[in-house]
């Protein structure tokens, strides 16, 4: 048995209690162990990707119990890709958290961060639906702690909202799992796929209820439109590195949709035929539209990035919800891109907030390092909107190409193209207000709380800097630059990346391979 598969779960699971119990009062050691652990996670994920890229599906039986009875972890191309993406994202986000000093503004940042990684990795690797629920809970519990890291009334209230919304989502998840178990008598995903395929269509009403309930749960996680209400307040008020890490959390929902509705409720299954994409496709289109309009209307930098995240989820889910191999391949490419782009936008937003002392998109004092931050914002905005030099353009092009044969393709194309324009306008408006018109002298009279000691600009700028601690000034730029480098690599190496994405998608649409690997050959 290949023990590498469980390493991405075990490593953070061991590291987090170690950080809490042994080195809780040593911030430097915490930083070293946390960064080293996350770096190791990148290496492990690369090894796993190397193992999975050949197309074999490897199974890890926990406690050596055979598949339908024990819990299994399954490594296929999709899981390996998601693990690698998580590890790379986490590594740069952690660098940013250390560099910007966010981890000093509350307790246990690094331990919670590692627990969060454990949950995300577990969710990507597990082959059992109930175990998926458990890992969802692990990542959610850690995210509750991270969300309210460093406190403050607005953040705590946003955190409370986020916790309550997700607890409701968890309840719904349990209802869905109970329904599926009542119908099929199993919760192992491969076994579910076999049992669901055998179910006579006239007894499938309860199964369809379960399938739709499960879709609702994943849509909550993925912030699909009628269920997206938790996201803007939560992401905009979360600490910036946490919000950047949360870019992978919405992708957990997208991953789960892709996994469950290709493996268990596949597109060829008669009992749920068309059920999923009928609902998911319009919802995704509306999600994209609302996300981009939100970007245009945002008055705070955090909300701008949050609505950008919603918009990118819309594009991603449009590609997923056509449920073809080409669509899912485009979706996977766009998923990698949008995770990095969203995280980068959140980090740049935090740079702006740190330097200006507030998060309003309005004329304000000129901030230090204006040009450098503006350049990063420009790159992040280009990536987010899907403009040519970066991978967002290729991703959107692939999504457009994949939806060419879908029903109502004209609506999809119109929405994607028009909302891209809306998002460009929104980001350009925000960028020009933040960076090009950065100094409005009339503001100083209205601001009663600003000390008016210095008449010249330099004195005011000094005050703006003083409000924020900046322990290692270069590291945030290194971290954000790392994400940008990831985007550039994704653009330059678009060919190999697309080959991998297409191979992954083809593997997903032949679920017999997965089922055979989990339940033993010949059982499909």
């Amino acid at each position: 048995m290949n023990h590498w598969i469980i390493a991405p779960v075990v490593l953070p699971a061991v590291l987090a209690p170690f950080i809490i119990m042994v080195i809780r009062f040593h911030l430097d050691l915490q930083r070293i162990f946390s960064i080293a652990g996350t770096g190791l996670l990148v290496v492990i994920s690369l090894v796993l990707m190397g193992q999975a890229s050949g197309g074999t599906i490897e199974v890890y039986e926990l406690g050596d119990w055979p598949a339908p009875f024990g819990i299994v972890l399954v490594l296929d191309r999709l899981s390996a890709l998601m693990c690698l993406l998580t590890a790379v994202l986490a590594f740069f986000v952690l660098l940013y958290a250390v560099g910007s000093g966010w981890d000093t503004r509350g307790w246990h940042f690094h331990a919670l961060f590692q627990f969060q990684l454990m949950g995300v990795m577990g969710a990507f690797l597990t082959g059992d639906a109930f175990n998926l629920f458990v890992f969802f809970e692990v990542l959610l519990i850690a995210s509750y702690g991270l969300m309210i890291h460093s406190g403050g009334p607005v953040r705590l209230r946003a955190g409370l909202q986020y916790v309550i919304y997700n607890l409701l989502g968890s309840t719904l998840f349990l209802f869905a799992l109970g329904t599926l178990y009542a119908v099929t008598g199993t919760l192992n995903m491969a076994d579910l796929a076999v049992r669901v395929a055998e179910l006579p269509p006239d007894q499938s009403a309860l199964l369809r209820v379960g399938a739709v309930l499960l879709l609702l749960v994943f849509c909550i996680k993925a912030a699909v439109l009628p269920l997206h209400f938790w996201l803007p307040a939560a992401y905009a008020n979360a600490p910036a590195p946490v919000a950047a890490l949360f870019a992978i959390m919405t992708k957990v929902g997208a991953y789960s949709i892709l996994r469950m509705y290709t493996l268990v409720f596949g597109p060829n299954l008669t009992v749920t035929e068309g059920l999923i994409s009928t609902w998911l496709l319009p919802a995704a289109v509306i999600t994209l539209a609302v996300g981009c309009i939100g970007v245009l209307g945002a008055r705070r930098v955090g909300r701008l990035a949050a609505f950008g995240a919603i918009g990118s989820m819309g594009t991603l889910l449009i590609a997923i919800s056509v449920f073809t191999a080409a669509g899912s391949g485009a979706a996977l490419y766009y998923l990698v891109h949008s995770t990095l782009a969203t995280a980068m936008l959140f980090l740049v937003a935090d740079m702006v907030i740190e330097r200006r002392g507030n998060d309003h998109i309005a004329c304000d004092m000129r901030m230090p390092q204006n040009g450098l931050v503006a350049a990063f914002f420009f790159a992040a905005a280009i990536a987010m909107a899907g403009m040519p030099p970066l991978s967002g353009f290729l991703g959107k092009l692939l999504v457009l190409d994949a939806t060419r044969d879908a029903p109502g393709w004209s609506w999809i194309w119109a929405t994607i193209l028009f909302t891209s324009l809306v998002m460009i306008v929104g980001l350009a408006r925000a960028g020009s207000l933040l960076f090009w018109k950065p100094f409005d002298p009339s503001l100083r009279e209205t601001r009663s709380d600003e000390p008016e000691d210095g008449d010249e600009d330099a004195g005011v700028v000094e005050d703006a800097i003083d409000t924020t601690p900046q322990p290692v000034a270069a590291l945030p730029f290194v971290a954000t630059g790392g994400l940008l480098a990831g985007l550039i690599a994704l653009t330059v190496l678009a060919g190999p990346a697309m080959d991998y994405a297409n191979a992954t998608a083809q593997q997903l649409y032949v679920p017999q391979g997965y089922i055979g690997a989990v339940l033993g050959e010949g059982s499909e």
């Binding site: 406190g151 209230r157 916790v163 968890s170 309003h360 601001r447």
Partner: protein, 129 residues
Amino acid sequence: MMTVELLFSSAVGVLTAAGIYLVLQLRTFPVILGLSFLSYAVNVFLFASGRLVVNQPPILTKYAESYTDPLPQALVLTAIVISFGMTAVVVMIALSAWLSARDDRVDMENEDPPPDDDEDGETGSEAPS
């Protein structure tokens, strides 16, 4: 047998309805109570998902002619533990939110004023921090 099923299903229904009603009150205390009701409802529901069997052991032995499905009981146990921990977490967060903001509303209508105070430059009396 029929009465047990009726009791079970109506219990799930009543608990869920009460939970949703309380969650919609949008104040932390009723919401937490509502979440607890919902978690009871889902626990009972999960328990029933292995079918209701009365007076049977959860293990298949050579003496027992029938058995009750043990897996939902294990699932319920997991769900109880998680929801118990979650309730503790949400109580703590609600408490600290109330202590810091002195407001127990769950929705954030009045706590997130749009920053047009600054854009208009007229109502600069209380600048949002």
